[in-house]
Amino acid sequence: MLEIKNLKVNYGGIEAVKGISFSVPEGSIVTLIGANGAGKSTTLRTISGLIRPNGGSVIFQGGDITGMEPAAIVEKGITMVPEGRKIFPDLTVLENLKIGAYLRKDNLNDDLEWVFSLFPRLKERTWQPGGTLSGGEQQMLAVGRALMSRPKLIMMDEPSLGLAPLVVRDIFNIIQEINRQGVTILLIEQNANMALKTADIGYVMETGRITLSGSGAELLANEGIKAAYLGS
């Protein structure tokens, strides 16, 4: 579904991504793990159109989307849940969800019901400003907001960051639930353990390069990964 070919990105004066290639098959959960500064976020931000790559290409459903503006990429069916959730604090929960469907002109009621069925907590807080929600609720809102555009592929940048372990488990359950409902997922995580348990395919990124790849289970069993990322 998504093919990244030899992607190179300079960001902030350094070559943050040094020619990586990977693919995300339709219906799968793919994770990119790696330490801080490995280039994971830069990769996602490039796919979403926030940064222009210096080389390589991004192919989505057979079409070249390299260097397109973010709105065009959302229109193609790729949405991103940014790092740190980035919900709009002054907009109500309902407005935050509606703004996720900004480019859509059809009726949103079914999708709102769908999001509320996934996250019943949000329904209770429809009229509350987004900024008054707890961290976990904000993450749910960020995921719900991304779903409102009816994406084919959701990219999530560190969804577990700063959340309590129980909430992290909730979020990963939701990720699997969304995936079962037909949305492909590209996840980047520092919580490698959780990510690899959830993912079908994993890639390990180190200083701008992909150094290892395999199924989630294979990588979880890999001694090198255990030592470097799983702390055991």
């Binding site: 973010p70 980035k86 709009f88 604090p89 480019l103 400003p129």
Partner: protein, 294 residues
Amino acid sequence: MAFIEKNLPYILAGISVGGQYALIAIGYTMVYGILRLINFAHGDLFMAAGFMMVYLSATLPLYIAIPLVIILTVILGFLIERVAYKPLRKAPRMSVMISAIGVSYFIQNSAWYITSGLAKQYPTIPVISNSINVWGSTTTVVTVITPILTIILVAALVALIRYTKIGMAMRAVSRDFETSQLMGIRINTVISYTFVIGSFLAAVGSLLYFTNYTTVTPTAGSMPGLKAFVAAVFGGIGSIPGAVLGAFIIGICENIIKGLGWTTFYDAFTFALLIIILIAKPSGLFGEKSTDKV
């Protein structure tokens, strides 16, 4: 009561001028809210609207000239943004500010060139230039219409921002460019809307303001522009209700000072107020409050 009775003409004039400042101040505050830019060219856009009226009304009937002035001012405001600010979107904020100062002088100098620096007679707009008696004091219709029109326009604007999709996008963009883009919002479109609205209000303000004066000069936009800017800072820059309230307070205070016989000092009052606000409450009356939760 005696004070109000004695000063009624000044208070009425103050409310009227306050409304005119408010219409300009909204342009400053909205642009600041989205781009964090003080659009120094805004006062000159207001002056340009004045000259457009002078030239257009010379050849066209008012019912065509007035809408045309509004449309052309909106186009000019839109073009200023596209030509002078949009290419600098990723540049440091200081560069954009310098560009704004450049645009300001460019418009002023163009006006000098076109008019040879001579003050031009502003046309009399019938009906609103007529005299009217309000509670025993004589004033012009424009004095009464300005605050009413201002309130209507502000209410419409607040409704637009609160209840429409583009309004929601404006609130989102003013908070976070990048996340707004991830939602599929085209930032440049939203910014253009902001300039269009600000320019529209400045054009209306210009029609009302210059009706009270007989002439327009190339520097005629500076002082009302600065006053409106002070009003926006006073109200808390970025806040629309703040800018409107600030504008009315400044307009009324200035005119009461005139009524007390200190006409020489009324400009000084406004800028003294600016200094006091910046020292005592830099965020203004309704300054941006942050509800960020990390």
